[in-house]
């Protein structure tokens, strides 16, 4: 409460305190809210981990509308929070406008690149992580047909699907990859019913492993896959625990690590573009007690080999966003 009061004071004397002393970090969650079981929750986990380990405090806000993006960034910057961390490419335009106004504050944006001297842009090699789960999917599949269910049809999600398909095809050249997108609007991120329908449709086409890269929609995909007795692959956070023994693995996108790193580095966080890939633990596959029985030693070896290959460059995973084409699958 005393912390609250000091904040109230800071609000009152706002114009004067610009760029001042607090130097606590601040996190801005996107419209999905911090308990979305996916992207935002992952960044919240990272922030909580930092708070637990260091005993520090941080400010946070869950955005309610697009008009608040710029407001939230300015508000935290003016109150002296540093760094100000935001997750989601939707903040890109707002940050491009705001960042030059607060040269003493460092901003961290995840999933987008903002060219400014005081911004760290964290982007992930989702295609590499997807490649790894593709390898696992191809080995786990008995029918030789695997599915991909994306959320909103944007280049980022195609990047997931493309890497996944390449992983599948490199492992089993005879395999078939079925790719579907849930929709073309942001509603597609949170439509578990449609996710469930698409899973049914893919099962009827012979798929016995489906990979959901669809935010909240994925919950429906994993549920239906479990109900129908096929395997599924989660995304972003480790979702293996949702249906123990029926989720093959999860493609980890360590947004939490990105947030944690930025908070740990504090105001002196290094700016520029930071690429989180297989090599630095930014993306990977989740193996825990829930899926230990599903991942055979042979599969584990194949994944390790693929990871090594990606790291040393002998395996080149095609990045959809580099040229908006995908050799491995048709969307």
């Amino acid at each position: 409460m005393t912390f609250m009061k000091s904040l109230l004071g800071a609000t009152a004397a706002l114009a004067v305190t610009a760029g001042a002393a607090l130097a606590d970090p601040a996190v801005i969650f996107d419209l999905g809210g911090k308990f979305d079981k996916s992207f935002n929750e992952s960044s919240w986990n990272g922030a909580e981990r930092w708070a637990e380990e260091t005993g520090g405090t941080y400010a946070e806000v869950e955005l309610q509308s697009d008009a608040q993006r710029e407001q939230a960034i300015r508000r935290f910057a003016e109150a002296g929070y540093n760094p100000v961390i935001m997750a989601g490419f939707s903040n890109q335009t707002a940050l491009e406008t705001v960042a030059p106004d607060y040269p003493d504050t460092t901003f961290v944006i995840i999933d987008a690149v903002v060219e400014a001297p005081n911004v760290r842009s964290v982007v992930f090699d989702e295609h590499e992580g997807s490649y790894l789960v593709g390898v696992l999917a191809a080995m786990a599949s008995e029918s030789g047909t695997v599915g991909f269910i994306g959320g909103m049809d944007i280049p980022l999600i195609r990047k997931f699907g493309c890497g996944y398909a390449q992983g599948v095809m490199d492992t089993n050249p005879d395999a078939t990859v079925i790719a579907n997108m849930t929709g073309t609007t942001p509603a597609a991120w949170n439509d578990p019913v449609k996710g469930s329908e698409l899973t049914q449709a893919q099962i009827s086409q012979g798929a016995d492993v489906v990979f959901a890269a669809a935010g909240g929609t994925g919950v429906g995909v994993l549920q239906t896959a479990a109900d129908q007795g096929i395997l599924s692959i989660g995304v972003d956070s480790n979702q293996n625990y949702l249906h123990p023994g029926q989720v093959l693995t999860s493609m980890l996108k360590r947004v939490d690590n990105a947030v944690y790193d930025a908070m740990s580095a504090g105001p002196e966080v290094e700016t520029g573009v930071q690429v989180m890939g297989v090599a630095n633990g930014g993306v990977g596959v989740a193996v825990d007690e829930n899926n230990a029985d599903l991942i055979t030693a042979e599969m584990q070896a194949a994944v390790d080999e693929a990871m090594a290959g990606i790291e040393d460059g002998s395996i080149e995973v095609h990045d959809y966003m580099s040229d908006e084409t995908c050799p491995a699958v048709q969307f």
Binding site: Q64, D66, A67, Q71, S90, D101, I154, T185, E324
Partner: protein
């Protein structure tokens, strides 16, 4: 028929409703373990205590003035236009077409053109339900609300397809031409080193909104058309008997209504975002209904109610920034105010009227005495 004094009608009823809403909200905040007094202070301080707060409050209020006026004019003709949301979305498309594809030498020209574009698009969207109501008797409430969904789908289509720059992840257009940038309050009112309204989206369209209030007042109470609209609203058969053409009145009223709702886009699309995003309207079309009801469909009342709702929005945002009150509960607090001022209006009005009449009825009271009693 007895009536309460005007000041009680206009000020006392909404004030008591507000106090009731604030009281219930305080209980809600107490229940989650926060201090309601601190929360209230934070809301007032954050929304009204600085030019920064006012910059946001007036920005939201500008949206609500337009949509509130849109609902108000329709109510005068006893039409209930709940399609403000869809009309405002289409207004955004109108603004985007004007601002994206034409080079503008100066913002004044762009503002006039964009206002026209927004109003035309909004009016066009209202025209179809109006026509169906006038010619086919399809109820305007049903058709306008369904047109909200069609508008949302249309906007989706445009922003995911034709109007989105290739390769962009966001369903949004590119940023408008620099010539269409509207002066913000920060640019208009800052002088020397003194930066006022820093970083806030309030812009020159606030004055357009005020002008719209005045124009609408003049239209409703000072023109023949306004008289016809009100006459039609009071009694359709009487209006017909007097030679007023119902089809014409319905069409004209709804076109004005849709145009006003559409003009909201010059504030949020042209003034704030400077590009068209998917959920640009943020529910302002629906808030307009509450604003019009609370403002008793009078332009000045709409203006005051819009400021109140602007305060609630900006105050709510401040709560989200500086307290742990979850955003869902902030919506609850906003909803309580709408509930008490809009829907439960009669709950306050009834007892209050009885109090006034009880004081008035016994032996021909001295007017001065009544006044002193009432203010006690």
């Amino acid at each position: 028929m007895q009536k309460m004094p005007a000041w009680a009608e206009v000020i006392l009823v909404p004030l008591i409703s507000l106090i009731l809403a604030a009281f219930i909200s305080a209980l809600v905040i107490l229940a989650i373990g926060e201090n309601p007094w601190e929360a209230l202070k934070l809301m007032v301080q954050g929304a009204l205590g600085s030019t920064y707060g006012w910059g946001y409050t007036l920005y939201y209020a500008t949206n609500f003035v337009f949509t509130g006026l849109a609902v108000a004019i329709a109510i005068h003709a006893r039409l209930f236009n709940i399609g403000g949301e869809g009309q405002a979305m289409l207004g955004g498309v109108g603004v985007a077409l004007v601002c994206l594809y034409m080079p503008w030498p100066h913002w004044t020209l762009a503002l006039v053109a964009a206002s026209l574009g927004a109003a035309l698009a909004g009016a066009a969207w209202a025209a179809i339900p109006a026509f169906l109501q006038a010619k086919r008797g399809s109820h305007i409430v049903i058709t306008t609300i369904m047109f909200n969904f069609i508008a949302a789908a249309l906007l989706n289509y445009l922003l995911v397809g034709p109007m989105k720059p290739t390769g962009s992840m966001e369903p949004a257009t590119t940023t408008f031409q620099p010539g269409t940038h509207l002066p913000t309050f920060q640019e208009m009112f800052s002088f020397g080193d003194q930066v006022l309204f820093r970083g806030t989206p309030a812009n020159v369209s606030f004055f357009v909104a005020i002008a719209a209030c005045v124009a609408l007042w003049a239209l409703i109470w000072r023109t023949r058309l306004g008289y016809e609209i009100r006459a039609f609203g009071h009694s359709e058969p009487a209006a017909k008997y007097a030679g007023i053409n119902p089809t014409r009145i319905i069409m004209i009223t709804m076109l004005i209504s849709g145009g006003l709702a559409g003009m909201m886009a010059i504030n949020n699309v042209m003034g704030e975002a400077e590009r068209l995003v998917l959920n640009a309207t943020e529910g302002a079309g629906f808030i307009g209904i509450a604003v019009a009801l609370m403002g008793r469909s009078h332009p000045f009342g709409v203006f005051l109610a819009a400021i109140l709702f602007g305060f609630l929005y900006q105050g709510g945002a401040e709560l989200a920034f500086w307290t742990t009150i979850p955003r869902e509960l902030i919506v609850v607090i906003q909803a309580l105010v709408i509930l008490f001022t809009g829907a439960l209006d009669q709950m306050v009005r009834g007892p209050l009227e009885r109090v006034f009449f009880a004081m008035r009825r016994p032996p021909k009271p001295d007017p001065r005495k009544v006044r002193t009693e009432a203010t006690e």
